[in-house]
């Protein structure tokens, strides 16, 4: 409080008020915090907290929020698609919450509850009896002209039992300060998860304010959601199986999909994980298939069933509508709910409410005119420059237009479009919206605010999320508030009513937990888990190899023709061949042998097989570094490139990007803490200074992050089939990496001094140098350093870094994931390694060692391919049958 006095102009809030006072365009909209006569009653605590923090404190909170967003891996927006390396846009949270007083919220809540009930009834009618159309309450063209109307969903029977379970609406304030519904968002209501994630962060970065405020919690809403989804089941299953159907890890709200699924306790699936069998939906697994009772969809209805809807959709399940029709599955929201997002319905909702509920509509909307009605069209065309003109179905090309922002030409074009298809347009009065303060480098700035509110209907009652996803326009004076257009998120705090005990969350009986879903993951998921294991191990293994090589370069790089320089050259050669980085992408120089030439489809993925550079064990890879890298590249530059260049396959960054990508594909299977360490890894690699002297410290940081990733996997995952796939990936990768390393280093004898240095380096890279030294000192181990290294890294079943250990663990993993056949093969391979004689291997020119590691490399590779074939083979491609004219052969008559 005192600091408020110290701030010039009465602190940040005072300065914010003075910004509000400027009448930029006539009238200033209502502000959330400041009323005409000072701070609003219920906002005093917030205003005091803002002043107390001051701009410095607020900027700190903003930075902290950014960090939390990063650590939680909160992302929004498409774009990761074909660029494994580029993350989607991060979510952005403004730390200043929006406070809604209890009385005001109670009114809003009642209005939202009524709206949820009304829209459910409207939906049921339009896909059922259509009385609203028959009695002329809603014009039929509003419905039939909207692409969200799915005529395949019309009909009686079980389909009619499915209800609008989730509703969402965008709210803004009118000039009088009342909240109004700008638009309904009922196709696949999104944002409640972001609201929850934003709450977690805002409550931390504004901890003092949060502690001092009595606000209603959000968690109960997600319990209710689970309950509502269970109730929605029509199959009669005692414990309905619920899945969240996602369009994929590339979808804009992929983060939220996993977040909600995790909160509610059901899995995220994609279309290819599901299959129709005898009119039912099943999760495809290698083992016992499991029926699905309820699908919470994040896929737009038009894409949900390529048999009956868009034939080219790869994110839908052919036959899904038939399963719904037959009462074998419930889809939430029902297919066809997107019709409710039609702004052309708004002018008719009031009458519909009186007709269906015998009530007046509580929540107003800005006045809307549907142009299919001649009077409506005339009004809209006469007021084009004042209205928001909206297509009844927003498409990529057809977005809302703010009439007053249009130039003469655009306005004429819009007029023509409306005149050509009047039924496809409506005009809406522009809501002034309210402003809320946003932290900027120059202080708090007023931005226009829209709140998305959410409700879930369970037990016949609509439960409203006590809060919402606040979003503010990206710029001052901007009217367009949309997350896609760069809006900032704001947490919405609903203040608990003072006179009641309702500060506790709404009493919702906690739901029966989902049946233990510890069965074999679907092939797509199994493949991603396996890649998590492989790529995480590849990051670690490669970083270790780079570190030890960088050590040699620093010690011997300036002393050519010494034994140390020879050892350095050997390790550099190992780096280039193991990582497949022989080709300098900038000069094009190199051996012409990238990793792509090395391997078959080790990697389960939809894309062309990503290759495993670590597995190159063939003699062809044993070429010298000079020949591989070309004269242009200095050793340290090569190492830097193999660390940070995301374009070099085999680089640490490349593996890290693929690791993050694979983790995103199975986000709901991983611990939430995984994102803290993954984001740290990404950050470390992304912030690499362009300075060779920094290579070692950076490698140390990368290694730390990689170890943290491994730690999370080991310490936070239940040992089930999912873990089995991750660990199998780890073990196969490590075994192959170690075999490759041995093949390119100690498998060839060198001069004794060089040999000793190479052996030390290999043991260091294999994280076994300490045991080695101890054994050498105590004389427990084999006689020569090379034998010690081979024992430790190949044969020693007690060393977690050895090939023997990896194979034994792989066998356990394979049993865990339910493949005893492959497990037996892995055990046999492990046994064959255990029987090797180290003295024979290292005798003479070590030809036996070279042959053995090469042979083992092939064996592990064969095993990896068998695993891929058995477990990650995805179904055959889905293709629409060609639709063709079958034409009459000749004219008649």
């Amino acid at each position: 409080m005192n600091s408020a006095v110290a701030e010039p102009d009465g602190g940040v809030v005072g300065r914010y008020r003075s910004r509000l006072a400027v009448p930029a365009t006539g009238q200033r909209p209502v502000d959330e915090i400041c009323g005409p006569h000072g701070i609003r009653e219920h906002q005093a605590g917030l205003a005091a907290a803002l002043d107390s923090l001051g701009l410095g404190g607020l900027r700190g909170a903003q930075a902290e929020a950014r960090r939390f967003v990063r650590d939680d891996g909160i992302r929004y927006g498409a774009g990761a698609g074909n660029r494994a390396a580029r993350p989607t846009r991060r979510w952005e949270i403004d730390p200043v919450p929006v406070l809604v007083p209890a009385v005001e919220w109670a009114r809003l809540e009642a209005g939202l509850q009524q709206r949820a009930v009304l829209l459910d009834r409207v939906l049921a009618d339009l896909y059922g009896e259509q009385r609203l159309l028959r009695e002329g309450i809603v014009p039929a063209e509003v419905v039939y002209g909207h692409p969200g109307f799915v005529h395949q969903a019309v009909g009686s029977g079980p389909a009619a039992q499915s209800h609008l379970v989730l509703t969402a609406a965008d709210l803004g304030r009118g000039a009088d300060g009342d909240w109004q519904v700008i638009a309904d968002r009922d196709q696949t209501p999104a944002g409640a998860g972001y609201a929850m994630a934003s709450r977690r962060i805002t409550s931390r970065v504004m901890a003092a304010l949060h502690r001092g405020s009595d606000i209603v919690r959000l968690r109960g809403f997600f319990h209710t959601m689970t309950l509502a989804l269970q109730e929605a089941s029509v199959t009669g299953a005692a414990r309905p199986r619920i899945v969240l159907l996602s369009p994929g890890a590339d979808s804009a709200t992929a983060f939220e999909q996993s977040f909600i699924a995790t909160l509610c306790g059901f899995p995220v699936v994609e279309a290819e994980d599901l299959v129709l069998r005898e009119g039912r939906v099943w999760i495809q697994t290698r083992g016992r298939p499991e029926p699905v009772d309820v699908i919470l969809r994040r896929v737009d209805a038009a894409l949900c069933d390529p048999l009956e809807l868009r034939a080219d959709s790869q994110v839908g399940v052919p036959g899904l509508i038939e399963a719904v029709r037959r009462g074998q599955v419930t889809v939430v929201n029902p297919l066809g709910a997107g019709l409710l997002d039609n702004p052309g319905l708004l002018p008719f909702l009031g009458t519909a409410a009186r007709h269906l509920l015998d009530e007046d509509l509580q929540l107003r909307s800005p006045e809307t005119w549907w142009c299919g009605d001649p009077a409506g069209r005339d009004h809209v065309l006469a007021h084009l420059d004042e209205l928001v003109v909206k297509p009844i179905a927003a498409t990529r090309r057809g977005q809302s237009r703010f009439g007053w922002q249009l130039g003469t030409k655009d306005r004429a074009e819009l007029r023509r479009a409306v005149e050509a298809r009047p039924w496809a347009w409506c005009g809406q009065e522009a809501l002034p919206l309210s402003t809320a303060p946003v932290v900027t480098p120059t202080g708090l700035e007023p931005r226009r605010l829209v709140i998305r509110a959410f409700a879930v209907t369970s037990g016949g009652t609509a439960h409203v999320l006590p809060g919402g996803l606040g979003r503010v326009a990206p710029r001052d004076g901007d009217h367009h508030v949309s997350t896609a257009a760069g809006a900032l998120a704001k947490d919405v705090w609903v203040l608990a009513a003072e006179d009641t005990e309702s500060t506790t969350p709404q009493r919702i009986r906690s739901t029966a937990s989902q049946p233990a879903q510890r069965t074999t993951p679907a092939p797509r998921i199994a493949g991603s888990l396996y890649r998590v294991g492989r790529q995480a191990e590849r990051v670690e293994g490669t970083a270790r190899l780079l570190r030890v090589t960088a050590d040699l370069v620093e010690d011997h790089g300036t002393r050519p023709n010494t034994p140390g320089a020879a050892a350095m050259a050997t390790l550099l050669g190992a780096v280039t061949s193991i990582t497949g980085s022989g080709i300098d992408p900038r000069t094009g120089a190199g051996s012409g042998r990238g990793p792509g030439a090395a391997l078959g489809p080790t990697e389960p993925s939809g894309q062309p097989a990503q290759t495993g550079p670590a597995a190159q064990t063939g003699p062809a890879a044993q070429t010298g570094p000079a020949e591989q890298t070309g004269p242009a590249e200095q050793p340290l530059a090569l190492l830097r490139r193999v660390l940070v260049d995301v374009e070099t396959p085999g680089s640490v960054s490349y593996a890290a990007a693929r690791l993050v990508r694979a983790a995103q594909e199975v986000r709901d299977q991983l611990s939430g803490d995984a994102w803290i360490v993954l984001s740290r890894l990404e950050r470390t690699l992304g912030e690499m200074p362009d300075d060779d002297a920094q290579l070692q410290p950076q490698l140390a940081h990368v290694l730390e992050s990689a170890l943290a990733v491994a730690g999370i996997i080991v310490e936070s995952m239940v040992r089930d089939a999912a873990w089995g796939f991750i660990d199998a990936g780890t073990r196969i990768e490590r075994a192959q990496h170690t075999l490759s390393l041995l093949a390119r280093t100690v498998a060839t004898p060198r001069s004794p001094v060089t040999d000793g240095q190479v052996t030390e380096a290999v043991l260091t890279a294999g994280e076994s140098i300490i045991t080695h030294r101890r054994r050498m000192v105590t004389g427990e181990g084999p006689a020569s350093p090379v034998q010690s290294a081979v024992t430790l890294l190949l044969l020693d079943g007690g060393n977690p870094r050895s090939v023997a250990f990896c194979l034994a663990r792989l066998a356990e993993d394979l049993r865990l994931l339910g493949d005893p056949t492959l497990a037996t093969r892995a055990e046999a391979l492990a046994a064959s390694v255990a029987e090797l004689d180290v003295e024979l291997l290292c005798a003479g020119d070590r030809g036996a060692l070279a042959d053995t590691v090469a042979g083992l490399g092939d064996d592990v590779q064969t095993l990896a391919l068998a695993l891929t074939r058995q477990h990650f083979t995805r179904r055959a491609p889905q293709r629409p049958l060609p639709s063709q004219w079958s034409t009459s052969t000749e004219e008649v008559g």
Binding site: Y144, G155, E322, W423, L881, Q884, W885, S886, V892
Partner: protein
């Protein structure tokens, strides 16, 4: 006396590689209409489907769902139906008693019309009403023109302006493309007619079915040489529907067997499907016989 027909419609898909699973949908059973009765029908599918279901779709057609999970390289769907058709000759004086504008106004405001009729007045995916279509329709369907005369002008114009040429178009051909090609098949002509009729505010739907053909030389017709046919149906001021065939330049009579109707081809495609296969290509053959009983 009604005409009685046995309609045989055999669809065969062949693939180069095995199809692991196949899902099909189509109106495999003809619908009854005020002038058509389906006496019997059968559907035979090979390989044997794991599931066959039927429901009535939003346009009143019977629609079948087939699920075939037996691996196969050839799928045969053989449907047969015996139907009797007795389509009365249209009442030309009734049709010409109203102008196009009258009929449009009257049918759009008809309180007894089911709501779905609104869909038959709006553009649809394959019936996009752009400037080209409007330009074609305007002189034919002038608002003050007698309705019956306007319909005759429409099918007459399409018949005169467009050559019937198989392979000239595909299911993806748009109406502007058709208008510049000036050639197509019955589905195209039906879509163009629908675009014109709907532009004029009339309620018009796409009809998928069959037509009895006669061999021009009087020789016996070849088995399987018939084909599916398509034409359009327009709501009349009397609340009935009149069917016109722009491909053959006349109104429909009792030789026209209705399979299904909807907004356009996409709603009533004879058979559509999704397959899971590595096979990048497939071959479709269709054999149709309309046999007078």
């Amino acid at each position: 006396m009604p005409n009685r027909y046995e309609v045989r419609h055999r669809t065969t898909y062949t693939y180069e590689q095995v199809v692991e699973a196949c899902y099909e949908r189509g109106p495999l059973r003809p619908r009854d209409t005020p002038c058509q009765q389906v006496e019997s029908h059968t559907v035979t599918v090979s390989p044997e489907p794991d599931l066959v279901t039927e429901h009535t779709d939003h346009f009143g057609n019977y629609s079948q769902y087939l699920e075939i999970r037996t691996p196969h390289t050839e799928l045969v769907v053989d449907k047969r139906a015996v139907v009797s058709v007795d389509r009365p000759a249209p009442d030309h004086s009734m049709l010409d008693a109203h102008t196009v504008a009258d009929v449009a106004r009257h049918t759009a405001a008809d309180p007894d019309a089911p709501p779905v009729y609104a869909a038959y007045r709006l553009p649809s995916r394959l019936v996009d009403i752009g400037p080209d279509v409007i330009g074609y329709a305007a002189p034919l369907l002038a608002p003050d023109r007698p309705f019956g005369e306007a319909l005759a002008a429409l099918y007459g114009a399409i018949h005169a302006d467009f050559r019937y040429r198989k392979g000239a178009t595909s299911v993806r051909t748009t109406l502007p493309e058709l208008l510049s090609l000036r050639a197509g098949v019955c589905q195209d002509f039906a879509h163009l007619a629908l675009g014109c009729l709907r532009w004029a505010g009339l309620t018009a739907r796409y009809v998928s079915g069959y037509l009895e053909t006669t061999s021009p030389t009087g020789r016996p017709r070849l088995a399987g040489s018939d084909a599916t046919h398509a034409w359009v149906s327009v709501r009349t001021p009397a609340g009935s529907w009149v069917d016109l065939d722009p491909t053959n330049n006349h109104l429909a009579d009792s030789r026209y067997v209705v399979s299904a109707w909807g907004r356009d081809f996409a709603d009533v495609s004879p058979l559509k499907g999704v397959v899971f296969t590595e096979s990048a290509t497939s071959r479709l053959t269709v054999g149709v016989d309309v046999i007078r009983l």
